[in-house]
């Protein structure tokens, strides 16, 4: 998948396109306000994307700890409510903890570095193939198998092309 543009940057470009190309052409105030609402929500998603996974994982740990401690502090002999708090705390304590997720920026940087290295490696292998090194085709095939996985994920999982390629013709 692309690291440049990131998903957040794509959303930013869409917001800018709406501002520059669409808003000035709209004929009614209602339509303009609707587009502004869309822009605001796109901005929200832009801000959420880079932190969503990391914050959710972090907060899972915080919630589980809080609930466990609350259950432990529930008064003995406190009746149904106290029993329920202890039960909630035990269930929260049973849930497996997530490992700490690297930041989105760190993952992106590593992904970009490795992608650049893989790209260069392909070029080097083709050069060696051209020089007749017998192992090159098998190694190229291994890299290509990984790339096929990557392309399959991009196309099937990420990219929407419903309606075909728009604007051509």
């Amino acid at each position: 998948m692309f690291t440049n543009p990131s998903s957040a940057r794509v959303l930013e470009l869409i917001r800018e396109g709406l501002e520059r190309d669409v808003l000035p052409e709209l004929q009614t105030d209602a339509a303009r306000v609707t587009v502004q609402m869309m822009q605001q929500m796109l901005l929200s998603v832009e801000r959420r994307l880079p932190v969503e996974q990391q914050w959710m994982a972090d907060e899972c740990g915080r919630m589980a700890r809080l609930l466990r401690e609350t259950g432990e502090d529930a008064p003995a002999g406190g009746g149904e409510d106290a029993d329920a708090l202890r039960s909630i705390g035990e269930r929260a304590a049973d849930a497996p903890a997530f490992p700490e997720l690297p930041s989105f920026a760190a993952i992106t940087e590593r992904y970009r570095e490795l992608s650049a290295a893989l790209t260069e490696a392909l070029g080097r292998l083709h050069a060696l193939d051209g020089e007749g090194w017998e192992e090159a085709p098998a190694l190229i095939r291994k890299l290509r198998a990984y790339l096929q996985l990557r392309i399959d994920r991009d196309v099937q999982g990420l990219f929407a092309m419903e309606g075909g390629l728009l604007g051509r013709g």
Binding site: L13, S115, A145
Partner: protein
Amino acid sequence: MEAQLERFIQQQRPDAQSVRIEDFRALAGGYSQETYRCDCVIESGGSEERLPLIVRRDPPPEADILPTNRRLEFQIIRRVRERTAIPVPQAYFLDERGAALDRPAMVIERLRGSADLSPLFAPGREEEAEAVATEFCERLAELHATSLDALDPDGEMRDARGVGLDSSSWETYMTSSIDYFRENYHRIAFDPLPVFYDMYASLPNRLPEPVPLALCHGDYQPSNFLYEEGRITGVIDWENAHVGDPREDVGWLYQLSAITGFDLPGAVKAGGGFLQHYSKLSGIPVTMEDVGFFQVFSSASLASPILDAVRRGLDGESDNFLSTYMLQPLVAAQPGYTAILGYPAAEEAV
């Protein structure tokens, strides 16, 4: 723009008492030139002439996805019309520097016919589809069999994009093209794009047998012709025409036929099928292996300006949303490239 166009045509036709533009409108879509249609009514010598027109104008430079030269396009349309039987529009007027129409533009004939292939490929119209596809094959063979002395006597199409290609021989053309793809990748890759680089880097090891260079249309594919009642009425969109290996057009046609689902090569039965029929008429031998190579080569060639357009959008050099949208076809095209390059299935991945 209508008033500008009227004044421009009046300048070009000093014999006219009046020039009137009617039914002027922009044609939606298209990734390269701004395209408009209109009728032009010219009064001259007591009679009235009505010309159905297409106006193609360069977009603003920052919005140009595939920068090409209007003068060369205008010139090659004229030469193809004069020196072959391929149906192309009459090229009427050229505003080479945009003095009249703000940016370089050309005014050409609007031909009859439809570019919509969905009805042609609908069940029950197989004979008509075969006739059109066969003629499309024959027109391509005719283009490639026409001497470069006739179509490019001054050699201007030998490096039509002005990127430093050496077309003095087949070998230098192929080498300089592949070198350009690779060097250009490093200049424009806005992100590591291993499949694209794999395409470029694999080409030198797969070179086919040489053939004489010819004039290539450069985008010979299902959406670039018009047809009517089983006949082709026009081959259009010559902006990417250039001197190259004629099999580039064949590879690109196969590639785009596969992508669009309009299998023009598969519809040809004459002479044993598209490749045999084309080879017999043009004198240029083409194997399926060659087709695969030139699918990659042509894709590499056309991917370069598209990658650059995306880069310009991301770098803030262009504020055209189309530059951003070009990310979509870049990703969508990759399974086609991996198929041509013979990638193994993802299940082999370690």
